[in-house]
């Protein structure tokens, strides 16, 4: 055919068409590649740092609760003893009346409260005291304070230390600003590929060429289809009472009421307070199957099924292996226990929680890279507690033992994470990054009146089959 002859001859002729490009072209190409590489590294580092800072801060905040409680109790005892001595001295010297003694006791409470606040719960402190303005007298000084800020200031002046350290926050913000500035500089330095071009390049493979035997990379529109994969998580977990900044501030007053069972005498005996389990962090892991659907260029939706193991460590008293029948009035049930623990902190017990959950999360791609996408994911995860081996504190009998009835079966958790693409080929994509999960649901039954929320933080990896 004439038409084909002409085209074929043109094609043959032009196949030989070659020109040697200017040296400057390669230099500019190389410079662009290097800039892109630096930019990519910087973006990854920036988000990694930001997430580590946020995640680390959260973990420290949550896991520090129990330690700070211990420290507070120790501090409470110390202050109480001091106050007792001081009161005795003062009553001997100045015939101090009962009202003043009460004032000193109250000031002790405020000192303890301020101490706790400085360690991590400033907001709760502020709210508590704004609701119930108390006139405070610093022991031995007679100076009255009705403003917690003044009290904190005074304490800082006296102790010479500042546990609550606002400059740290300022430094963090400065760093972020600095990072943002650097990012802007790089952004402006690198000439970005126009979106339309990226789009064209991404769809390059969908257009076939009749002149060569190139097979399109992917004929199917992978973006709109479900992709499946597996996920593995490993990290630490803990059982915490609540996130204080979101919790009810009245709990704090209740805590202190419990901590001072005999205010009037000025005595504080930890051992005769309510039996309460303290938790320390344990190991956590999860295994799951995931399904992901691309919703748009940047957004995708993920779901699946996941088994999650969480643990926390409790210090309890000596173990007894004698079988016993115990009635608990709180749960209103009798239990046959093969072993139980007494009050004290001599033995470590690992509380184990087994959950099966259906994570539902929205993923947002933070960068524009097709090769190494960074995904921020946030979502909810309804789950079922399929098994547990957790201690229960029986206050009446003053013993700890395993009790399945204490926990709810349904747990609703929130998830947060970052996923960095480590490897990306035409067949699979491997991502890894930090992940955080917190159960919004109080896993303990309401009758127990002891809030328990499971939290886990660690590294999550995903392998997605394309």
């Amino acid at each position: 055919m004439q038409e084909n002859e002409f085209e074929n001859s043109i094609r043959k002729k032009l196949d030989d068409l070659q020109f040697v490009p200017n040296e400057a072209v390669w230099k500019q190409v190389h410079a662009r590649i290097e800039k892109d590489k630096r930019k990519r590294r910087f973006v990854i580092l920036f988000w990694l740092m930001a997430f580590l800072l946020a995640g680390g801060g959260a973990i420290l905040y949550f896991s520090g609760t129990e330690d700070s409680n211990n420290a507070e109790l120790a501090q409470t005892e110390y202050h109480t003893r001091n106050n007792e001595k001081e009161n005795k001295r003062e009553s001997a010297k100045n015939d101090t009346n009962i009202d003043e003694k009460k004032t000193n006791d109250r000031s002790s409470i405020l000192e303890i409260t301020a101490s706790k606040t400085l360690k991590g719960d400033r907001r709760a402190f502020r709210k508590t005291f704004s609701q119930s303005p108390l006139k405070t007298v610093i022991p031995g000084t007679g100076i009255a304070y009705n403003d917690e800020q003044e009290l904190v200031k005074k304490q800082q002046e006296e102790s010479g230390t500042n546990t609550f350290n606002p400059p740290t926050k300022v430094t963090t913000e400065d760093t972020v600003d600095q990072v943002a500035t650097e990012k802007t500089t790089i952004d402006s330095a690198v000439k970005p590929l126009p979106e339309q071009e990226i789009k064209t390049a991404a769809t390059d493979t969908s257009v076939s060429l009749a002149t060569n035997n190139n097979v399109p990379a992917s004929k199917k529109p992978a973006n709109k289809q479900w992709t499946f994969g597996v996920s593995v998580f490993a990290g630490i977990s803990d059982n915490i009472s609540s996130i204080k900044i979101l919790g009810n501030n009245n709990n704090m007053l209740a805590d202190y009421a419990n901590a001072f069972p005999s205010q009037g005498t000025g005595g504080l005996n930890n051992s005769i307070g309510n039996l309460k389990l303290k938790y320390k962090r344990g190991f956590s892991y999860s295994l799951g199957a995931t399904a992901t659907k691309q919703l748009s260029k940047r957004f995708s939706f993920s779901t699946g099924i996941e088994y999650l193991y969480l643990s926390s460590v409790s210090k309890v008293g000596n173990k007894s292996t004698t079988q016993a029948s115990i009635y608990d009035s709180t749960l209103n049930k009798s239990s046959e226990v093969k072993e139980y623990f007494g009050a004290g902190e001599t033995v470590s017990f690992v509380n184990k929680y087994h959950l099966v959950q259906i994570p539902l999360s929205v993923n947002f791609q933070l960068n524009k890279s097709v090769l190494r996408p960074i995904l921020f994911n946030i979502g909810l995860s309804p789950g079922w507690l399929v098994g547990s081996k957790a201690l229960y504190a029986n206050n009446k009998e003053r013993m700890y033992y395993e009790e399945d009835e204490q926990l709810k079966k349904f747990v609703l958790s929130g998830q947060l994470g970052l996923q960095f693409t480590v490897a990306n080929s035409s067949r699979y994509r491997f991502t890894a990054g930090p992940a955080l999960q917190y159960s919004f649901t109080d896993i303990a039954k309401p009758v127990i009146q002891s809030e328990q929320h499971l939290i886990s933080a660690g590294i999550k990896t995903n392998i997605t089959i394309k």
């Binding site: 004439q2 085209e7 043109i10 020109f19 190409v29 590929l193 991404a202 190139n214 399109p216 090769l371």
Partner: protein, 186 residues
């Protein structure tokens, strides 16, 4: 023959030497491709630069089933089209308005021109014609595909191509000294 698999792996690892090797192997031919779509060598080099940046950026998407050269060429063609769409100086010529240029003969001339001479003739076509001619006659896209790529109808692509073809044949004939073929404006 260059081991492209190893070369690609090294490029993906970010090795500059491999990237340069890949560039040096394909750049001359790709500049030839870019040259056909533009009116100046400088513009062609701009496209080549942009095209190679994209080649290295999307190299992980290359599935290794087809020829690497064909894959790179496809990126170059797309880059060239984007460049022409954005470039002000080519903009008005890409409007694909009705041209009165028609051929009065469709016979195939004997092409005695060399590749560069032929490319020069193609580059003298109005940009719209030039692009469609390159896409259809040289790259082998169908008119339907060209229509999608350029945002025009399939029929427009077909008619524009025929006009370009006839015009080019007239020039080839004149250049080749074949006076038996006569082309003129309507």
């Amino acid at each position: 023959m260059t081991d492209h698999v190893a070369l690609i792996k090294n490029c993906l690892k970010g090795k500059s030497s491999a990237q340069k090797q890949l560039y040096e192997e394909f750049a001359p031919a790709m500049l030839g491709v870019c040259y056909r779509y533009t009116k100046s060598l400088h513009d062609a080099e701009d496209i080549l630069q942009e095209g190679f940046v994209r080649v290295f950026k999307f190299l992980h998407q290359y599935n290794r089933e087809g020829e690497l050269g064909a894959w790179i060429r496809k990126i170059m063609v797309n880059t060239a089209l984007n460049y022409l769409k954005k470039s002000q100086k080519y903009q008005h010529e890409l409007l694909f308005d009705k041209s009165e240029m028609v051929a009065i003969s469709t016979e195939t001339p004997l092409i005695i021109l060399n590749a560069k001479e032929l490319a020069e003739l193609i580059r003298q076509l109005p940009t719209g014609y030039q692009v469609i001619f390159n896409l259809y006659a040289v790259e082998g896209f169908s008119h339907a595909e060209i229509g999608q790529m350029l945002g025009i109808s399939e029929n427009t692509s077909r008619s524009q191509y025929m006009r370009a073809r006839h015009l080019l044949i007239s020039w080839i004939t004149n250049t080749s000294g074949n006076k038996n073929m006569v082309y003129a404006r309507k």
